[in-house]
Every structure is written in C-alpha cells, then in structure tokens.
Amino acid sequence: MTIRFALSATLAAFGLTLAAPVAAQQLTLPQEELETVETSDNGGTEVTVTAESWQDLGIAIASFATNADVSTPANAQGTAALGHELARIVYADLRNNGLFRPVGPDALPRPTYPQITAPSWGTWRGRSAEMLVHGYVRANDDGRLTVGCYLYDVVLEDELVREGWVVAPAEWRRAAHKCADLVYSRLSGEDPFFDSRIAYIAETGPKDNRTKRLAIMDSDGANHRFITNGQSTALTPRYSPDYSKIAYLSYSDGNPRIYVYDVDSGRQTLVTQSSNPTFAPRWSPDGRYLLYSMAVAGNTDIYRVPATGGTPIRLTFSPSIEVGGSYSPDGTRIVFESDQSGAQQCYIMNADGSNQRRISFFGGRCATPEWSPRGDQIAFTHIVGDFHIAVMNTNGRNMRTLTNGWQDEAPTWAPNGRIIQFFRSARNSGDSTIWQVDLTGENERRLNTPVGASDPAWGPVLP
C-alpha cells in the first residue's frame, strides 16, 4: 500500500488562507491568525512512501537557528534559546504521539543559521537520520517573531516542504505546533492537528465534594488556564468552531444551565431563557447553532437554538431521555443518544429532527456519540458493565473497541479524526484523567494536566 502526496496545490491553498495580518502582543486571542510568510513550491514533487515505513522514519529535529541572538519576550535567554525550545516542542509533539522515530535537539548538533537552508548532509547521514527538520527564528523590529520550518529528505538531499509564520511572542509555541503539523502532514498524508486547543473540566478535592472548574489548554497541555474559579460546579464544555466561545454547563445559579462564555470579553450568557434545566451543549460545525438538552417536567429532549440567541426548535419529542447530539461534519445529520428502547442507544436524525432511527444494535449500551471530523466514523462510550471507548461506522456497523479501562467515557476527536481523547475515572477514588488513543486502538497515552481532568473537548486546527 502506498500513499501519494500532491504537495504544491494543498500548500498554496493553505498559504492563501493564512495570509492575514496579526495584531501583535495580544495574549491567546482565539481568532488570531498566524501570518504565513513563505511556503514551498518545489514544482509539485511527489514522494511515495510506504504506509508501514512512514511511522518508522528516523527524523532528526535540530535546534532552530537564529540570525542574531537578541532578547524577546518569548524567552528570557533570547532568540537562540528560543530556537532550541521550538525544536524541543516539535520533537515532543511527534514523540508523545508515537509518530516516527524522532531525535530531539538535546541530542543533536546545533546547525548554524546559513545551514538551515543548506543542510550539512554528511552530518545527518552519519546519524542515520532519514528525515531532517530545520528551522529558524528571527525577532522582527515590531517585536513579533518569524519562524521558519524546513523538512529535508536526507537520503535524497532534497527539501520536501517549507513554511514560515509570523507570531506574537506570546504565541511562539503555536509556530512549533505548525511546524510539527507540517512535518506530520507531509510525511503521513494526514491532516494536521497539533495547533489546536482543548477545553476540559479540572477536578480537585474528595469525591463527595469535588471542585470542578472550566479550563483550557493547548493540544500538548501547555498554556493551561482556569476559566472558572470553582465556586460552582462546571461540566461538559465545548469550544465553538472558531474558538471564540465555550458553551458549558454551570450550577452558578443553583441549577444546571448552559452558558455561552465569550473568551475575549469573559462575559457569558444563558443559551436560552428558560427556567428549565439545560445541559449537554453542542455546536453545529459552522458555529451558527447550538444543540442543547432540556428537561421539562423531568423529560429530557434535544433542542436547537441559533448561537446568537433566538427561538429554540425542539428536535425530539419522545417521553424517554434524548440527550447530547453530535453533528456530521457537513451539518446535515445528528447522532444522539436515547433510552427509548429501555437503555441508552445511539440514534441518527436529520438536522431538522426528521427521520430518527436507531443505529446501534450490538451488545451493551451506546452513549455520548461523537461524529468524526472526517464523517465516516462515530466514537462513543460503550457500556458493557465497564465503560470503553469504541468506534463504529455511521450505520452502526463495524464496532471496534479501542480502550479497556474500568470507566473510559466521553470521546472527543482530534481535528484530523486520527486520535480520540477521552477521560478515565479510577475505581473508588473517582480520580479522573484525560487520555488519548489512536483510531487504530494503538498508542494509548495519558495527557498531563495540572490536576484531575475530565470532559475533554478538542477544538479544530487554529487558522
């Protein structure tokens, strides 16, 4: 089996969409875009790599060089030290996700600035590196940083891809994630995912008096930030597709209600004006609508409301529990859970609520379904006594179990649909942690968080 890459066309499109100006010095603005300063165009070179081999590629990731070691708010020791840190992040991204056989900058010689575009091939061949990542960082007069990233084939002595970005100093890590994404996408043929964020619930304290706070972090756990102070319980956050808002459940007025939190202003509004409890918020792929579940006189059904407010539309009408919901990437269908058969099972309906039908008919229960960003798979919590993470086709067939914990629940997809994140609760203590597993079921690993963590929600790749 082989994977082919048509490089130039996709990158040209990529570059165009990214060429937007950046407001400097702004901290973690979700809608902030990186300015792309260069993209490679090496005449549409196609490289064929066998599917088995790309994951085994030895990749050397050397320190990024700098033209002049000057001070920068991004690193107290200057741009040379920053270049080393950038390479370490690229290395950690690839290593922590079990991708390739990377060797990081701590174990490699430091290239000079001119060598970034003219690698010392003999040095890298001698280290049996098949692929080489070089990069540079440059402090601009306006205080921003320009970061370039190059991927070379050491055997062919050829450049495979290059790209560069202008970032505010506070966003310097994003440039490293973009570089890791560039390398990963170029070699695997998959879509990028590193430059993305995760909203989740941070948990502290004993099981019967747990503090649950809304928190956010980068896909690698960096830039961690608590959003709520923990005075009231927060649950089940979901980033809007443009990262400008987070819908989540809070008991701040004593009742469970969905609030839409505006990341920039810090203000939040109720998803809908109702005295009934609302929970399980979900964004439509275009960010224009929110699904929520509302209990009226004890009966929970699914509703849809414009994200800017307005009249809600009821989508389910059964006296049973209908809850949650996840849109197909094209926005035309919704997978949700219902216990109308007597136990939680997964159902699909059109986005207007029509044509509801059950899709899960395997043993056990089907809960918290989440549609893959690629559209062809649905991840869910498979309850068979214990809780496992599983995937199935959108017709409910080809169910595959990916994890075997005691209580693994609430899957969320990486933006490229290749990795699933979920949370795992420990027996008795109830301590929860966030984990990831590849769609193949391999490479299960824990994500480091400052405290206990649950309800992860992975957002899309940042623009």
């Binding site: 004890g298 809850v323 109830g430």
Partner: protein, 171 residues
Amino acid sequence: MKLNAVMIAATSVLALAACSKKPPEELPPVQETQAPVAATPTPTPPAGPVAGSQEHFARAMAGRDVIFFDTDKYDIDSEDAAALRAQAEYLLQFTNARATVEGHADERGTREYNLALGERRANAAKNYLVSLGVAENRLRTVSYGEERPAATGSNEQAWARNRRAVTVMIR
C-alpha cells in the same frame, strides 16, 4: 450535604422498619392537620429546631427524606411511597415550608445521561408529593446527576445509596 450523607447512612435501615411498622393506608388525614397547625404555628417544644427548617424536617423524617431507585429507574415503589407520604404530611402540616427535591444518580452512567436521569427521579418524587396535596409551587427540583455522591465507594452498595431523590427544606 454532609448531614444528608450521615442521615442516609444511619437510617436507610430505619426507613424499612418505619414503613412496615406504620402502614400508611389512608391518604386523607393530611387534610385535617393542615389548617389547625397553620393557625397555631408554635406547638413544638421551644428548645428544638424551628419547624420547617432542614434540621427539624430531617429529625421528623428520620431517614424518610430520601428515597432510592434501581439502576436507570425512576419509579416510586411502595417503600418510596411511604417515605413520600411522610414528607407530604410534614409539608401539609408546616405550610410555610418550601422544599427542593434533589435527583441523583450513581457513577455508573455517563455524565449527561445521569443529569437527565436525576431530573426524572426528582420529578417523580415531586409529582408524588403533589399528588398527595402539596402545592406545586412549594416544591423545586434540581438534578445533580452523579456529581454529589452520598457514598463514595465503587461497589453495588454505594451505587444503591447514590441512586436517590433527597428532599431538602429551603432556608
């Protein structure tokens, strides 16, 4: 919350004994007590907790402020009905009292489903109280899903104690 946990632990056995001891066949008696007691609000011993307070209610209920459910269920069985009748009698006696019915689930469900399940349980208990004559506007419901366990273990006994609806006086 702490108090509730202790009360449940101490009295789930008592609740069984109570319902066999006193078969609450007749529903109407509550109507008789309603008016007179409201008219003379201080027949209780002066030293004890204030009538209508949580402490007073919990003491009077002796465990019957909590009812329990089977996995994923929210139906009111005869034991639950006996406890709810005691609650209704109290609420009809102390007409200034208002109550919140909390619905809870065990940890062996997914978070959002458990919120919906807690809603069902709280409303099942509330509806039963209303059917016994308690004015609907005196009762509020809230679901805590699996977020506030009374028993913290991960075993059948703990889960059984957490699948519950708890009636709590407001103020």
